[in-house]
């Protein structure tokens, strides 16, 4: 494998512009996913979902967010003030930070400046992702703990156990891909899929990663952290107003990030099959299109599966996903070394 050759240099203003664009794009995608989720869930339950605010109910998330941010800030008497305020910020920060590594296309020539269509192209892409995934769990755990409420505490304890057990399987599922691509840079992983998307040779890893990702983003059927029915909302029980909104935002941004990562790592990012090579400006739309498939999958699964029991969750993570992921990594390693 040829080592990464940095054949361009991004001026400082491009970096700042990219940061702003990424934040804006991320910020715009969350409400869209939100309204899409509610509408698709509605359709799957023989109803329309929101369709009153604006055309087809598209302005519904705006109304929701306006409602939330105009609410009074309050906290329980038993809560730990600064942690209570910090936790949602940690959650949203890590989600946005993880969003920055998703590559949306090859390096483009924009007005004579060579620009990569991603926030940063790290030589340690997946590690960065897991690092921020691990910090994101602090957001949830501190939030539940600092609330000083038993339901929040239970939710955050579940979060701790769940995220730790599933992060192992998630990481091991990626090891196979990293062996095959022999790089940790996400753009190079995409380029390495020019012949064949990794979803084919790494199908087991794909399924394991996807399943573990559902747990990582606290989505149904692994939403024990929230568990509306039993924990009255889990870690965010005591949150309201803008802080609750930022938790909500972080959850949906996590869904988007996971979709982007799966697209990048297993579905060949901006590459199209059958030797189609569209011009460079199409790349981001290809990535977004593939991401939409996964976002739909997230919503679809939520409409389908009931929540797991806690012991089922644990035994599934440790007894099934982890051995499978290890086996996958082992077999891939043997195959890579032998060929």
């Amino acid at each position: 494998m040829i080592p990464a050759v940095i054949d361009y240099y991004e001026p400082w203003y491009v970096q700042i512009l990219k940061a702003i664009v990424l934040f804006a794009v991320g910020l715009q995608m969350v409400p869209l996913v939100l309204v899409a989720e509610r509408k698709i869930l509605g359709r799957m339950q023989h109803r329309f979902g929101p369709n009153r605010v604006g055309p087809f109910g598209l302005v519904q998330p705006l109304a929701d967010i306006l409602k939330l941010v105009t609410k009074e800030q309050f906290r329980p008497k038993t809560s730990i003030g600064w942690l209570f305020a910090l936790a949602p910020i940690v959650s949203i920060l890590t989600a946005v930070a993880a969003f920055s590594i998703i590559p949306f296309g090859r390096t483009q020539d924009i007005f004579g400046t060579k620009t990569g269509l991603y926030g940063v192209d790290l030589s340690i892409g997946p590690l960065y992702l897991f690092a921020f995934g691990a910090i994101a769990f602090y957001g949830i755990m501190l939030g539940g703990w600092a609330s000083g409420s038993k339901y929040s505490f239970l939710g955050s304890m579940r979060a701790a156990a769940q995220l730790i057990s599933y992060e192992v399987a998630q990481g091991l599922a990626l090891v196979g891909v990293i062996f095959t691509a022999q790089t940790l840079s996400l753009t190079e992983i995409v380029e390495a899929q020019a012949g064949m998307w990794y979803v084919v040779p790494q199908f087991a890893g794909f399924i394991i990663f996807l399943t573990a990702s559902f747990a990582e983003s606290n989505r149904a059927p692994f939403d024990l952290v929230e568990a509306d029915a039993e924990l009255v909302g889990g870690y965010n029980t005591e949150y309201g107003g803008a802080r609750f909104a930022s938790y909500y935002f972080a959850e949906y941004l996590n869904v988007i990030v996971i979709s982007g990562i799966v697209t990048t790592i297993f579905l060949g990012g901006w590459l199209l099959p059958f030797g189609i090579h569209p011009p460079g400006w199409v790349d981001p739309f290809v990535v977004l299109g593939k991401m939409c498939v996964f976002i739909f999958l997230f919503i679809w699964i939520r409409a389908t599966l009931p929540r797991l029991r806690y012991d089922q969750l644990m035994s599934f993570g440790w007894k099934i996903l982890l051995p499978l992921a290890t086996l996958n990594a082992l077999v891939t390693a043997i195959l890579v070394v032998s060929t």
Binding site: I40, G42, R43, M44, Q45, H46, R47, F48, N51, W300, I301, A303, T304, L305, S315, K319, I320
Partner: protein
């Protein structure tokens, strides 16, 4: 039926022999796909909801909505003779009738007397329909309107003129056999 029920009546659905392990995981995967197929099929089917303010739920002919007072179609005289039987039958005590004598130059109803005041307090009415049963002249019937919310309790006291008038919007009636 006697308990325990005879053999073969109750058939418990037994779970598969192996609950966990690789076989269980494989089965869970298959069942997940089956469930996803189900939800997707529901999505394709379309919705069964009514878009309420624009599209009202049709009611059955015997639906008990807001009361209506009636007139004779040929003479235009009120059917109500002010007998107060409806008020007597009303379990919620929401009907108030004050009767007055008909005179040759002021003939309101077909009978000897008429209802000078006829008020129904709809905030107390329980829509049981006893007034309709009690009425000897079919002067009061339960209509089909169910949109009666208001901002003020005083507005929910319906007077005779309001009850005699045609409802502003007709509630759709369910077709026969629907």
């Amino acid at each position: 039926m006697s308990w325990p029920p005879p053999e073969g009546v109750v058939q418990p659905i037994k779970g598969p022999e192996s609950a966990g392990g690789a076989k269980g995981a494989y089965r869970a995967f298959g069942e997940t796909l089956r469930g996803m197929k189900t939800t997707f099929a529901r999505m394709v089917e379309g919705t069964t909801t009514y878009q309420y303010p624009e599209e009202k739920v049709p009611v059955y002919p015997r639906f008990r909505g807001r009361h209506r007072l009636h007139r004779f179609e040929d003479t235009g005289l009120e059917k109500c003779v002010g007998c107060s039987l409806c008020a007597a039958a009303c379990p919620a005590d929401c009907i108030r009738v004050v009767a007055a004598e008909n005179s040759p130059d002021n003939r309101v109803s077909a009978g000897e007397r008429y209802a000078a005041v006829y008020e129904i307090n709809l905030s107390r009415c329980i829509f049981c329909g006893y007034c309709e049963i009690a009425c000897p002249f079919d002067a009061i019937t339960m209509g089909h309107d169910y949109e009666m919310s208001d901002y003020d309790r005083a507005d929910l006291i319906f007077t005779k003129e309001m009850l005699l008038a045609e409802p502003m919007e007709r509630t759709p009636l369910r077709a026969e056999g629907e």
